[in-house]
């Protein structure tokens, strides 16, 4: 008995010792400071200060980690960071921002989130930092190198119902995410299925895939929350209505029950019910992405950069078998896919604003972003120079036999933030997604469910004082 206890304690102590050793291993070293020193600013003007950065778990943030000691040596600023997956990250972020504790100085955010954070004044506009020659060397930083649509997406003038693209810049984008159709080229070719150009064709293609290839015709997100409607669905419906319909009209009335919306929604839900996976109702983004990568579905209309997974033979069974196309257009023939950018922003409660801006500038500079894409697979690049870099073109050029890059670039021309700017976008999206559930489970007709959802959103907007 005594020896057994001794053995157990010994094992535990040994484990702790090993962990202690591993936990104290030194970080890697890197000396590419010469590139940054080219900028005609004094990187060390905030030396001695410290920053805490709140980051979402993402290839971009992973790319920053090994480089942080480099930043610390360049500027003399001490950096502490915290990384969490998206959901948990936002919970923690809001706890901090809402109490204005200043725990997080630099944060990761994006257009729709900015509407929520800017309304109560939790985040700093960045223009004053960009325009201050003591803080930013515009020639070196090259703000114009970003895709203009991405910078525009991160501007908002605070006006509910409009004003995206004008006004203060709240975050600098580090990637571009839009939505395209990925389909099994091998199956489509084999069974002579046409690549869909309308939603009706898409439903038909899904039906044919299921019938002929024995797998789900389409896979899509289905949890009763905003992500379900935020990617392929909203891109599809905005395209279907030629970009002329908005979920909230200019009098701030919710318009889910508009006949065009009802028609599209009915078609979409019918398609998913007839040809989609049986557990659609609880599929998250990774469920859908992994199902497609496992070869279990014929199509997916979701984030374009998921292609990085589809085309990696170590992670997918369908590498090389995927084709990429725009999400089906509307009668006008144009696709209006949604847009999301992750970017770096600044909390207003920050005491070290200059230090925070130095970090943002460093992290979003051309070289840093290039490294993020080339070495760490941060897709899609938000800077034109990064996208055009030969190494990046080589990485992404082979996807879908070249159809990925072609489609993604084409898409980016017309992609735009799909939502009407207002701080209750998350709530609206959650209600919208839940109405899809009502329709899917035949608990209400599309018209009724959407009418009810519209009324519910109207009530929320009224309570929030956004709408009269």
């Amino acid at each position: 008995m005594g020896t057994r206890r001794g053995w157990l304690i010994g094992t535990l102590v040994g484990m702790l010792a090993l962990l202690g050793v591993v936990a104290s291993l030194p970080a890697q070293d890197d000396s590419a400071l010469a590139y940054y020193r080219q900028a005609k600013i004094n990187w060390r003007l905030a030396a001695g200060q410290s920053l805490t950065i709140g980051l979402n778990k993402h290839p971009f943030t992973e790319s920053l980690l090994p480089a942080i000691p480099e930043f610390e040596r360049l500027t003399g600023i001490k950096v502490e960071y915290l990384i969490l997956p998206e959901q948990e990250y936002f919970s923690k972020l809001v706890a901090d921002l809402s109490q204005q504790r200043g725990e997080f100085t630099v944060i990761m955010t994006g257009p729709m989130r900015n509407w929520q954070y800017a309304t109560p004044g939790w985040i700093m506009p960045l223009d004053e930092f960009i325009n201050d020659p003591k803080l930013t060397d515009r020639g070196w930083y090259r703000l114009d190198d970003f895709y203009p649509g991405l910078i525009a997406a991160n501007r908002w003038n605070g006006k509910v119902g409009g004003g995206v693209g004008e006004g203060p810049l709240y975050s600098v984008p580090v990637l571009a995410e839009s939505y395209i159709l990925a389909y099994r080229k091998d199956i489509f070719d084999q069974h002579k299925i046409k690549v869909p150009t309308t939603i009706e064709e898409m439903a038909e293609a899904a039906r044919l895939v299921k019938k002929n290839a024995g797998i789900d015709g389409i896979v899509a997100r289905g949890t009763p929350a905003v992500p379900t409607v935020a990617t392929g669905f909203i891109s599809g419906i905005k395209s279907y209505t030629d970009g002329k319909w908005n979920e909230v009209d200019d009098k701030l009335n919710t318009t889910f029950h508009d006949p065009r919306s009802v028609k599209f929604t009915q078609t979409w839900v019918d398609m998913v019910r007839a040809s989609g996976p049986s557990n659609w109702a609880n599929m998250t983004w990774y469920d859908a992405m992994e199902a497609f990568a496992a070869g279990q579905a014929g199509m997916i209309a979701d984030a374009d950069f998921f292609a990085a997974t589809y085309e990696d033979p170590k992670k997918s069974k369908i590498a090389g078998k995927v084709g990429y196309a725009l999400i089906p257009a509307g009668p006008g023939g144009k696709t209006y896919a949604g847009l999301w950018t992750w970017g770096l922003g600044m909390s207003k409660a920050t005491k070290n604003k200059d230090a925070a801006w130095l970090f943002i500038q460093w992290a979003t500079s051309p070289r840093t972003l290039l490294n993020a894409t080339v070495e760490h697979r941060n897709y899609n690049p938000s800077r034109v120079s990064v996208m055009n870099d030969l190494r990046v073109q080589k990485l992404m050029g082979g996807w879908g036999g070249g159809s990925y890059v072609k489609t993604q670039q084409e898409n980016l021309k017309t992609a735009r933030v799909a939502w009407v700017p207002q701080p209750e976008r998350t709530r609206l999206g959650d209600i919208w997604a839940r109405s899809l559930h009502e329709i899917y489970f035949n608990r209400a007709s599309a018209a009724d469910a959407l009418k009810k959802a519209s009324a519910e959103v109207d009530k929320v907007l009224q309570e929030a004082g956004i709408k009269k």
């Binding site: 535990l12 962990l19 778990k57 980690l65 090994p66 990384i83 997956p85 990774y286």
Partner: protein, 289 residues
């Protein structure tokens, strides 16, 4: 004839017991088997339809946990997992130790004494575990920030009392009340003060109960998620928060998550194994009595 029937029933009983045991073990352990397999799989194998039971195993996931070399160009230079693991050990041990130390006293008071408001106080203690965590998570966050307890091991140990203390008090109270009063009175006649009764009579006799309480309390602490998510930072995250970090924005590293979850079980396993014999000892003591 009786002999045959009795042995016939004995055989049936034995088979029934065997089947029941097997079912119980399979039900309990099957998901762990699945996690173990997942932790040894390459990402591609995880997607297999139908699920792959035979595949080329790899230790890359475990390597990633401890050495930071993750797949897909995730090159964390300093792996956080060992630190999270240490945090869990520190915080859970601290929380349980504190709960048991204070809980023994409180349970003894509630079990053996009569005094005004006794039932109300007992209920009050239990009630601290009632509230859904969101009721006070943000206010607690505020309070911790102001007191400087945010992102500290001490802060988490204190916050965890909400999880472990009410449970500890009530469990120990029940076990103390099982001990016949005569044994205690005998000790008091011998001249023991309350402290002597506690340490020489109550604690030894309730060893199985204490063992069970410690194990369960440790596991509740170890597996807490919502508190440390909000009240801890990177330096003090326990493994529970660490394990979900494998959900990234463009992929989920199931293999590493599975490996992290399995490694996180080890201290709990070690603890429960080393405490098993106290339960056994208690059993023999009970028989002697």
């Amino acid at each position: 004839m009786n002999e045959a029937r009795r042995s016939h029933w004995a055989a049936v009983r034995a088979v029934a017991v065997l089947v029941a045991t097997v079912l119980l073990v399979v039900w309990t352990v099957f998901p762990f088997g699945w996690i173990l397999l997942t932790s040894l799989k390459e990402p591609r194998d995880m997607l297999a339809v139908p699920p792959k039971l035979v595949f080329q195993p790899t230790l890359a996931n475990y390597e990633a946990l401890f050495l930071g070399k993750q797949r897909g160009a995730y090159a964390s230079t300093r792996p956080d997992f060992p630190r999270f693991f240490l945090n869990s050990v520190l915080i859970s041990t601290g929380a349980v130790a504190l709960s048991v130390a204070t809980g023994i006293l409180a349970a003894y008071a509630l079990a053996r004494f009569t005094f005004p408001f006794k039932n109300q106080l007992a209920f009050l203690f239990l009630s601290f575990r009632f509230a859904p965590f969101i009721t006070f998570l943000i206010p607690l966050y505020l309070l911790f920030q102001r007191l400087g307890l945010y992102n500290t091991h001490l802060g988490l140990i204190l916050a965890y009392q909400l999880i472990t203390l009410p449970f500890t008090i009530w469990m120990l109270r029940s076990f103390f009340m099982e001990i016949p009063v005569e044994v205690e009175e005998a000790a008091q006649i011998d001249g023991c003060s309350w402290w002597g009764v506690l340490t020489r009579v109550m604690l030894p006799l309730s060893m199985p109960g204490i063992a069970v309480t410690v194990i369960l309390g440790f596991m509740f602490s170890w597996n807490a998620f919502n508190y440390p998510l909000i009240l801890a930072g990177r330096q003090t995250f326990p493994v529970t928060v660490g394990a979900i970090q494998f959900i990234s924005y463009e992929q989920v590293l199931w293999g590493q998550m599975a490996a992290a979850s399995l490694v996180a079980i080890v201290p709990q396993l070690l603890l429960s194994l080393s405490v098993q014999k106290y339960i056994v000892r208690g059993l023999t003591m009970g028989a002697v009595r």
